[in-house]
């Protein structure tokens, strides 16, 4: 029942500067806005023991000023121009982006190029941002019930230190960071040859190329950063842990499995299986647990998509006084069922329509397009994949989903994290 829909390809032009900076341009004049995305090939996966939280701390430092931009002026320039901006750090990369009225393209390129070439790394900036990061950790992780559980599960599923530690890092490691450490980190990872620049929105290609050459062309390249090893054994690192959470009002649990890297066909099949299992009111586990057994207050799951070995996590906050083992058995049984019979025709139709809808929706936003293109360029070295990704997902068959579930999820090779409330808040 899926009707055919011809989606228009995103127009792309990609090239590299002499200093190694990869550039991709996506002109689209529907609305007079432009989004700029700069992705640096550094994430928590690049951190070694004793230096966790560095990539993320560094993301904060990047907003503290550069040679020609005073401390915190980055925010101010963007806001003054009527733009929005942010940056995020993940295991895979650090990204910086802004969306501006189209006439302010030069401003965005000036700001991004100045901090790429000459970030102001000072003791004062380091100290201030270290405190801000600690507050962020307190706000999001320490002071929230269930704040840390995804990080804990990550450390159970992945064995390799590069994959297993959290992006926010430890307070002790952050305290140990010196100004020299930060300068070295900058030089190594924040180089044009270690970055991708994407523009999406309303601009003239010729003008954009000239501006990019003007602002980025003279930034010197640096030595390539050291290669990292993100290989994992097939087994999860730890199969069971109990974690006491002083702020949690109810017990909860999370289960994690290790799955192949993001572009592997089996990873894609498992991502789709995940959607059928836990995504939306018609998902199997929602209907079985939230509705059927009425045993769960909140069901959640996601695919931890990485360039290397990845993960799938499914969890629940059960209602009070529920039998957690029984809920987990339902999850395991549902996985067994999908492993033996695979998804139905209706479920495959649903997946196809959802994938197409999602693609259309995100293609409306210049920022979504820029980010998607940047990922394909940084991770896969092929920006044109942005126009072919959807078909990779659409061509997955029910049999492929069934077989991937059987191989990777229908197994005892998984991590179970039990979260137990231990505070007064009952």
């Amino acid at each position: 029942m899926t009707q055919t829909l011809k989606l228009i390809d995103i127009e792309l032009e990609d090239y590299s500067l002499e200093n190694g900076l990869r550039v991709v341009l996506n002109p689209d004049d529907s609305i007079p806005v432009v989004s700029i995305a700069v992705y640096y090939d550094v994430g928590s996966r690049n951190e070694r023991e004793g230096r966790t939280g560095f990539a993320h701390l560094f993301e904060h430092m990047m907003f503290q000023g550069s040679e020609n931009v005073a401390k915190a002026e980055h925010f101010q320039f963007i806001m003054k121009a009527g733009g929005t901006m942010n940056g995020t750090t993940s295991s895979e990369r650090t990204n910086y982006y802004e969306t501006l009225p189209a006439d302010q393209l030069p401003l965005g390129l000036w700001l991004e190029s100045d901090r790429m070439r000459a970030l102001a790394v000072t003791q004062e900036n380091l100290d201030n941002q270290r405190e801000a990061v600690k507050e962020e950790k307190r706000l999001r992780y320490d002071n929230q019930p269930y704040g840390e559980i995804f990080d804990i599960l990550g450390s159970m599923v992945y064995k390799n230190f590069a994959n297993a530690h959290s992006t926010i890092g430890s307070m002790e490691d952050l305290d140990d960071a010196t100004v020299d450490d930060v300068r070295d980190f900058f030089r190594m990872y924040y180089a044009p040859n270690n970055a991708v620049l994407v523009l999406s929105g309303a601009f003239e290609v010729k003008t954009a190329k000239e501006l990019i050459e003007k602002y980025f062309g003279s930034i010197p390249s640096q030595t390539k950063p050291p290669a990292i090893d993100v290989t994992e054994p097939a087994e999860v690192a730890e199969t069971y842990r109990k974690h006491e959470d002083k702020l949690a009002p109810l017990p909860a649990f999370l289960i994690g499995w290790k799955i192949p890297p993001r572009r592997d066909p089996e990873h894609i099949a498992l991502y789709l299986a995940g959607k059928l299992l836990y995504d939306g009111d018609s998902s199997r586990l929602y209907q079985k647990l939230v509705k059927g057994e009425e045993s769960v207050m909140q069901l959640f799951g996601f695919t931890d998509e990485r360039r290397g070995p990845s993960g799938i996590m499914i969890g629940a906050i059960p209602k009070a006084d529920m039998d957690l083992d029984r809920i987990r058995k339902t999850i395991v049984d549902e996985i067994k069922l999908m492993a033996s019979e695979g998804p139905s025709e209706e479920e495959m139709d649903k997946l196809r329509n959802q994938l197409i809808s999602s693609e259309v929706r995100s293609s409306q936003s210049s920022l979504s397009r820029a980010q998607g293109i940047a990922e394909c360029t940084l991770y896969d070295n092929d920006p044109s994949l942005i126009n072919r990704e959807l078909s990779q997902y659409l061509k997955v068959t029910a049999a492929e989903i069934q077989s991937a579930v059987d191989k990777y999820l229908n197994t005892d090779n998984r991590s179970l994290l039990d979260i137990v409330p231990s505070g007064n808040s009952n």
């Binding site: 009527g82 000036w110 706000l139 929230q144 509705k291």
Partner: protein
């Protein structure tokens, strides 16, 4: 070192005009307003069926009714069970949901345009023939009651509960959540009646933006909704808003909290007030974003927090101004000082021309970005219609922002930031917060996380006339640190209500300072070394005879360490 052109910010390439085209407006004979805006750029359609009826329309003895009715619309219709509905909608890759708030309830859908006919039909089912099955209602009630417990573990919720109560008083805006008792009272008949009374075509607007042909779509809307009968619109029962005569401090005690959630709030303007644009610009300068005064002070300069902001909530009947931040517990007092510094500054001194220009250029510049996606554009149109803003509101938005003057910003800051009568609400560790915050207000109320008021007198005050108990001696303690029990020896010398001494453990030794005894409460600070670093350990205990229990806190560890022990 830099090339010349890098030394200053570059010029604009030349502003590209942007205008939102005007939607077409018609009405069905039953009063349903239809607003259509064709947008063929992407093969999707966004629907919003918006009702000017919300949580404030709840009868006084049926709080939570509108939210229940709204949530239950997709839990079963005459044609489809809850499960079948979920399957139908998700099979099309579409979204169909209901959102409710204090003023309005909106049925929202978005879909690929090739399925828009089917989705419109499903919307009509939800709105015209919901069944509110008893079984689903029972589940909803059970889940909602469980959810309320969970809510109480969220500091934001706890702050909001107090702020709403204090600022809005008995007005329906003062209720931020039903209680378990409220939910327990709801019956299926209540929902059926409430739906019939509030879901009226003459109280609703159907807004559609996207890839469709207006003529055909209007006919489809007529087909689906034409038979819907108009009815008498009942306005919500409103109460007078409370008048304030002093600043108050309300604390929600969350012992051991590593942060204080601070909210400073007072009544402000409603959505269609003529001061809307000056207030918008003033708030942009003060605290709307990351380059505003509050953020720059409390986060960038002082490092107290991850973020500090101010917001103006303007609803249909009233509104509120609020300044907020989540700060390290130990700098609660300093943060309040900075908040008041900024709130007074924007009232006492005119802002600078530069700040005014920057605020305006943000608000006007960001406007097209908000309208970039179909969802964003639809949201802007829905707001304009629901709040009965002028027909040219979106067209003239940027002009109105540009017209605001420094004098107007100064005037509205003085008028709507009621510095002397603010409600200060802090969710955090009461024992730590009270001494830091009490100087900023008259009056102190304390609540626990269940929302129950506690006796403020019993917090952190010396028992009147109580003789300090004898705490001198050598105490052998066991401290719970990260799953392990650590033996610690505390040697205390006492002179009246002050104590000195030292603390010894296998990790180090340190002298006590700031030692006090209040009745049977003991407190002190020990400076000691831990893994080569000097740390401050806060010690607080309660003595009963020869036994002591309490907590130790240090900034290195996010949660307090419980201890107990005996005097030798």
């Amino acid at each position: 070192m830099s090339e010349n052109f890098r030394q200053t910010a570059p010029e604009s390439l030349g502003v590209i005009p942007f205008n939102i085209p005007n939607p077409t407006k018609t009405k069905l004979s039953n009063g349903l307003e239809i607003v259509l805006l064709e947008d063929r750029r992407h093969p999707i359609v966004s629907f919003r069926l918006a009702f000017r009826s919300g949580d404030i329309n709840d009868p006084k003895d049926r709080i939570g009714l509108n939210a229940a009715m709204a949530s239950m619309l997709n839990e079963g219709t005459e044609k489809h069970t809850s499960k079948a509905l979920a399957e139908e909608i998700e099979r099309f890759g579409a979204n169909l949901s209901v959102s409710e708030g204090l003023d309005n309830t909106i049925v929202k859908a978005s879909t690929l345009s090739m399925y828009s006919g089917q989705i419109l039909e499903l919307m009509a089912e939800l709105v015209l023939s919901p069944v509110f099955p008893q079984k689903e209602l029972d589940l909803y009630k059970q889940n909602t009651i469980e959810g309320l417990k969970f809510q109480r573990s969220q500091p934001d919720f706890l702050a909001d509960e107090q702020v709403s109560r204090i600022v809005y008083g008995a007005h329906p805006y003062g209720i931020n959540s039903p209680t378990a008792e409220d939910i327990g009272k709801l019956t299926r008949t209540d929902l059926v009646d409430f739906h019939a009374n509030t879901f009226l075509p003459n109280n609703a607007i159907m807004i559609v933006v996207g890839d469709f042909d207006s003529g055909s779509l209007r006919a489809e809307i007529e087909e689906n909704f034409g038979g819907w009968n108009a009815g008498e619109i009942r306005n919500p029962e409103l109460e007078d808003l409370p008048a304030r005569s002093r600043r108050t401090l309300t604390i929600v005690d969350r012992p051991g909290s590593t942060q204080s959630n601070i909210v400073l709030a007072n009544l402000a303007i409603k959505r269609d007030h003529p001061d809307y644009f000056p207030v918008l610009v003033m708030n942009q300068i003060l605290g709307a974003g990351a380059s505003s005064r509050l953020f720059m002070n409390l986060r960038e300069e002082k490092g107290y927090t991850y973020g500090a902001y101010s917001r103006v909530y303007s609803k249909r009947y009233a509104g509120m101004f609020e300044a907020t931040s989540e700060v390290r517990t130990s700098v609660t007092g300093e943060s309040l000082k900075e908040f008041f510094y900024e709130l007074n500054r924007i009232r006492d001194e005119k802002a600078s021309d530069q700040e005014l220009a920057d605020a305006k250029s943000y608000l006007t510049g960001v406007f097209p970005i908000r309208a970039e996606t179909q969802g964003g554009l639809t949201g802007l149109i829905v707001s304009q219609l629901l709040y009965d803003l002028p027909a040219d509101y979106l067209e003239t938005y940027r002009e109105n922002v540009d017209a605001v003057t420094l004098d107007e910003v100064h005037r509205v800051a003085g008028k709507y930031i009621d510095v002397d009568n603010l409600a200060i609400v802090i969710v955090g560790d009461a024992e730590e917060v009270i001494p830091q915050a009490k100087e900023f207000a008259e009056g102190l109320e304390i609540f626990d996380t269940d929302g129950k008021e506690k006796d403020a007198e019993s917090y952190n005050k010396p028992a009147n006339g109580a003789v300090p108990v004898n705490v001198a001696g050598t105490w052998e303690l066991s401290v719970e640190a990260q799953g392990q029990k650590l033996p610690v020896t505390l040697v205390i010398n006492q002179a009246g209500d002050s104590i000195t001494g030292n603390l010894e453990s296998m990790l180090g030794e340190g002298e006590l300072s700031d030692g006090k005894v209040n009745g049977n409460s003991v407190s002190a600070i020990a400076k000691t070394e831990f893994q080569g670093q000097e740390i401050e350990l806060g010690i607080k205990g309660t003595v009963e005879g020869d036994s002591i229990t309490g907590v130790m806190t240090t900034s290195m560890i996010p949660i307090p360490l419980e201890f107990s022990g005996l005097r030798k």
